[in-house]
């Protein structure tokens, strides 16, 4: 139970941090915000790597590897495309 309450505490506080920061992001950057936040939600990769590497059974490994593939597309694709977009915003400033 302790673990859960700790997790919940972290969850609620992080939501507040998120609200505080994200309301300050100007509309011009809303698309990069979506693709960038999208990329960091690829953090599921951490869990996927554990499932894929623990090799409990063939099924869990398969699920894990598939999750690694999807989460990596999410993370790498997200960071790279955000970088591409932001570079366009930056070059004139």
């Amino acid at each position: 139970m302790d673990m859960f309450i700790m997790g919940l505490t972290v969850f609620v506080l992080a939501i507040f941090v998120g609200f505080e920061i994200i309301t300050k992001i100007p509309p011009t950057l809303h698309t990069p915000l979506m693709s960038g936040s999208n990329a960091i939600s690829g953090i599921t990769l951490v869990g996927a790597v554990l499932s894929a590497g623990a090799q409990q059974t063939g099924l869990t490994t398969t699920l894990g590897v598939l999750a690694v593939i999807f989460a990596t597309i999410n993370a790498i694709g997200g960071f790279m495309v955000t970088n591409r977009m932001l570079a366009m915003f930056k070059k004139k400033s």
Partner: protein, 462 residues
């Protein structure tokens, strides 16, 4: 060792927060995004040192395949197709959460340990939100790409079917929680949630896509947070809640900019056109003035201040480059040019800004709606390109209109308005736009890109 990993996760979380903070200004944004990427790298490398891992081949295989696909997508994608890419990436995040939670459930049954109830609740939530996100995003992708009809698909009994599916999903979630050894219940739940995800997005029409894409963005974060609870992993919980908050804020901004409630968007409900609403014939009959590119060029020659109002039509006809060229040409003649961007112009939040940035328009020239409206009566020529409902004055004047109360860019108050449009067909709201028949309005009928190029040619000849 485990303490060290957790400290590393904390550092990664801090990097993610600093990364998002960097996005608050175009100058610091590139760096912010890089900080986020470093955080991700750190988190993954630390996880690889975990003792649970006995073999690396499969992980490396997955990383290579996923990395290659992600890189190709990011490099090849056209800026006009950005909404599709974001939709599909949201979906992949969602399905990853479904798979990880499913694998964790299987592992715990194999070890024959009874997982704590809060863990099974988190597993069910992860599967539910993740599957809704994945299938909802795929439908959104199909709609944006034009693979399936962009219109709102409505059929009778839709609400009833959705409620039944939601009830079934809830019942299956309870089953997962009560009997965590029943892995089948989890996959049934994922199946039901998949159908629900499809049916939730099907009724949403094209112009409402910004709301849906933002909402699915939020869901993908919440699914990651739920997976964090399953694995008791703080970095997932923190990151997931940051993304969840971000998506919710964008959803709110989009809904507000359309003066519609979220439920209203999600159920494909558009307020019906008021009985007393004017018909197209009443609004346009004989009053619409059509102009040639040459006539518009003459207007621009004498204008001191020009405001460009882009909409989804600019993206469709890929007109952002000619628009930027026109603006540069006008500025070289001493005309002030600014851009007025409505929050819901395009198919995702900030869509127009990205396209204009691609065409080298400095971000200082992009004004948001409130800023643009402040002294719009000082504008000599407002050029509307591919926008309709977001400049419809009925939103201000007709309380019975389906768009009544929606904030608009008041281009009708500019000295002259030039509207580039293919025809007088109505926009998403399905109502005529009295702007087109005002005394100070000129219609330039044709494809956005071609018309702008024609104006440029005429200006250069003069």
């Amino acid at each position: 060792m485990s303490a060290l990993i957790n400290i590393g996760y904390l550092v990664a979380s801090v990097l993610f927060i600093l990364g998002l903070k960097g996005l608050t200004h175009p100058r610091t944004a590139v760096r912010g995004n890089q900080l986020g990427a470093v955080g991700m790298l750190l988190a993954v490398v630390l996880t690889l040192t975990d003792q649970q891992i006995v073999s690396y081949e499969m992980i490396i295989l997955g990383l290579i395949i996923g990395g290659a696909i992600g890189a190709v997508l990011a490099i090849k994608i056209e800026m006009t197709s950005m909404p599709e890419l974001v939709a599909v990436l949201n979906g992949f995040g969602g399905i990853a959460s479904v798979l990880v939670a499913g694998a964790a459930l299987l592992e715990s049954t194999l070890k024959a340990e009874v997982p704590l109830m809060q863990l099974t609740i988190a597993t069910a939530v992860s599967g539910l939100i993740g599957a809704v996100t994945f299938w909802g995003s795929l439908v959104a992708f199909g709609k944006l790409k034009g693979l399936i009809g962009e219109n709102a698909v409505l059929f009778s009994g839709q609400q009833v079917i959705n409620s039944m599916l939601a009830a079934a999903a809830l019942a299956l979630s309870c089953w997962v929680v009560i009997d965590p050894t029943s892995v089948m219940a989890y996959w049934l739940l994922v199946g039901v949630a998949s159908v629900l995800g499809i049916l939730l997005v099907i009724p949403v029409g094209g112009a409402d896509m910004p709301v849906v894409v933002a909402l699915l963005n939020s869901y993908s974060g919440l699914a990651a947070a739920a997976t964090g609870f399953v694995l008791s992993n703080n970095v997932l919980i923190i990151t997931g809640s940051l993304v969840g908050a971000s998506g919710i804020i964008l959803t709110q901004i989009m809904c507000k900019a359309m003066n519609r409630s979220l439920t209203n968007v999600l159920f494909g409900v558009m307020a019906p056109a008021g009985e007393g609403g004017p018909t197209a014939d009443e609004v346009y009959g004989g009053k619409v003035k059509s102009a040639s590119p040459e006539e518009v060029a003459v207007l621009f020659e004498t204008a001191r201040r020009v405001m460009i109002v882009p909409g989804y039509g600019m993206a469709v006809s890929q007109a952002q480059y000619p628009v930027a060229t026109l603006a540069a040409l006008l500025e070289s003649r001493g005309t002030t040019v600014e851009y007025a961007v409505h929050p819901v112009a395009g198919r995702m939040p900030g869509h127009m800004n990205v396209l204009l940035a691609e065409a080298d328009v400095p971000y200082e020239a992009l004004k948001d709606m409130d800023e643009s409206n402040q002294d719009i009566d000082q504008v000599d020529v407002a050029l509307v390109i591919g926008a309709n409902d977001v400049v419809n004055p009925l939103a201000r004047t007709d309380p019975s209109s389906p768009i009544a109360g929606m904030p608009i860019i008041d281009v009708d108050k500019a000295r002259t308005v030039v509207i580039i449009k293919r025809s007088l067909s109505p926009g998403f709201a399905g109502i005529p736009n009295p702007l087109f028949s005002l005394d100070n309005s000129l219609m330039l009928f044709g494809d956005g890109k071609k018309m702008v190029l024609d104006i440029i040619a005429a200006l250069k000849e003069a």
